[in-house]
């Protein structure tokens, strides 16, 4: 168990301010990065590379959502890709069988994946560390097995065809970017509010947080539900973009990619995982032509970052800026 540290109210307040300025700096950096991403279609019109960037944004949303749960609240779920899959199947099945319009289906996907997240979050409330990781991992595998074996309903591994939303790649590009920026702003507002402090207090010391009056049950469950809803949203958008829903969306490898992006970018930082999602995915598409060692390299990077640079690329960048400021 983590040692609880006694802090005076004054120290708490300055800690809160510190944490807020830190989050604000990260938020601004993330906005700058998104502005750069917004300019890319002016120079790049190749539909293949636009597609790569769209998928990067899909992963950026997932990494951001997982980071909220794992990086800020300390709940290490291994099911982020599963919630994307649940969202994708919600809108996919509604569209395929009942002809529900994609926009309505996406709303339904957010609600359903959020509810599933709420239930799972409530169930695993008391599990920590390896127990939580194993429970969410088995939840993920059960969901994937159900999706791929309910062939009568989901058409199994063949996948379910769903309606598209528009034909323009650039349109999709800005839709995903818009979704990403909206979620970024929502996460920023959440983290800057008292809720953000509660979540981080729970991560740092659950017992102390409870003694200090934080409603631990409520906030842990809420973090799970919000993270799941955001992942489900990304999955639903992706379903209409790809016009196909398959159980592959929920593969452990997908979760591995999300975890890698978050760790390389910097867990518990707002900007790191978003930027790393682009770096990792675009680099991996690019490296595919030169040898294809990309996944080996990223896995090695995950190990190296976890072992030596806990705060990821964002932490390294911040340290570099600090050094230059002092020199």
């Amino acid at each position: 168990m983590a040692p609880s540290s006694a802090t005076s109210p004054a120290a708490d307040r300055s800690g809160a301010q510190l944490s807020n300025t830190k989050t604000t700096v990260e938020f601004r950096a993330a906005l700058v990065a998104m502005a750069i991403v917004a300019l890319i279609p002016l120079g790049v019109s190749n539909p293949y590379w636009l597609g790569v960037l769209i998928v990067s944004m899909y992963f950026a949303i997932l990494a951001g959502a997982w980071n909220l749960l794992a990086g800020y609240t300390g709940q290490f779920s291994l099911a982020p890709a599963t919630f994307a899959m649940i969202g994708a199947y919600t809108t996919g099945l509604l569209n395929h069988y009942f002809g529900v319009a994609p926009l309505l289906g996406i709303v339904a996907a957010v609600v359903v994946s959020g509810l599933v997240g709420l239930l799972l979050g409530r169930a695993v409330l008391r599990l920590v560390g390896p127990y939580l990781a194993l429970t969410t991992l088995s939840f993920a595998e059960i969901m994937r097995l159900v999706a791929s074996n309910s062939i009568d309903i989901t058409r199994g591994d063949l996948g379910l065809g769903v309606e598209g939303l528009m034909n323009s790649r650039v349109g999709w590009y800005y839709l995903f970017l818009g979704a990403l920026v909206v979620l970024l702003i929502l996460f920023y507002m959440l983290l800057r509010s008292k809720a953000g402090l509660f979540l981080q207090a729970i991560r740092d010391d659950e017992v102390a947080a409870r003694r200090a009056g934080v409603n631990v049950v409520f906030w842990k469950t809420a973090a799970f539900a919000i993270s799941a809803a955001a992942s489900g949203f990304a999955g639903a958008l992706y379903a209409h973009f790809a016009e196909l829903v398959t159980p592959e969306l929920g593969l452990i490898g997908q979760t591995g990619l999300i975890v890698s992006m978050t760790v390389i970018g910097g867990m518990g930082t707002l900007a790191g995982p978003l930027v790393a999602a682009f770096l990792v995915y675009v680099l991996s598409e690019w490296l595919r032509d030169v040898g294809g060692y990309q996944l080996v390299v990223f896995a090695a990077l995950v190990i190296i970052f976890a072992r030596f640079f806990r705060e990821g690329l964002w932490g390294l960048a911040r340290a570099a800026v600090k050094r230059r400021g002092r020199a």
């Binding site: 794992a70 291994l78 390896p130 990781a133 429970t135 059960i142 097995l145 991560r203 090695a300 995950v302």
Partner: protein, 298 residues
Amino acid sequence: MSGIDVDLAVNGLITGLFYALMAIGLSLIFGILKIVNFAHGEFYMVGAYAYTLIALALGVPVWIALPLAFVVGALLGWLTERTLMRPLYAGYTSWGLMRDEYAVIVTFGLSLFLINLVDKVIGPYAYRGPPLVETSRVVLGPVLISGHRLLAAGIAIAVIAITAALIKWSFWGQQIRAVSQNRLGASLAGIDTAKASVIVFMLSGGLAAFAGALLSPVINASPDVGIFPAIKSYIIVVLGGMGSVPGAIIASLFLGVIESFGAVYISFQYRDAFGLILLMLFLLFRPQGLFGEKGREV
């Protein structure tokens, strides 16, 4: 009990023996470091490749290739412990309070690394290992079994028995059990906890690799072949109680039999889901498992 039931039970028990080879190591690691090694399936995968490549590419006799696979797995376990697990107890991790998260990430990363490395270096094709004996089928009453599987089951029983005896009675086995009961207490009593961790990782890697080698004529080793055996061993370790070796052995046999009957009588498609559902139920309602010991504090 009809003939088919006997056949299902025996084949389920044999599958359970191979599960046990994997699960014992995982359980010992949990006992000593309180972490789950998410790269455990990759030790198994490396063992299958080591045996197959040593026997086929170098032309080494299978009876020498088999123990060599154990050695390769043990070396990998040693390397993992020295490079990645040390920070968990040596107190210089940069993760501070997030020790559990470090362990999950770093073993998960190791798993991705080994899968993709083997995929690039050796290739994504499936390799079939040479069987220990060529007899294709042995008939024992109602039970039909291949000669290799029968022999491999016998070897597995011997290895499991030796391992369990070592853990129970040997000097280092007792020290390992002391450390898993209470790390601080054990180190106060003069036990070298670092050395105990190294031994556990070498034994665990070696056993998983050995399981992979024994099964390589059946499983057609490919880079991701370890994922499912690893998930089975997580289930077993939770059912048997994390850290308990006898619990792991009993739970392995139990799961093997359940899956064998479930696949025939309930649903073939969902045969892999039974264990996972059990796993979730246990983690939610009885996390100490069937035989788990509660930790002792000093």
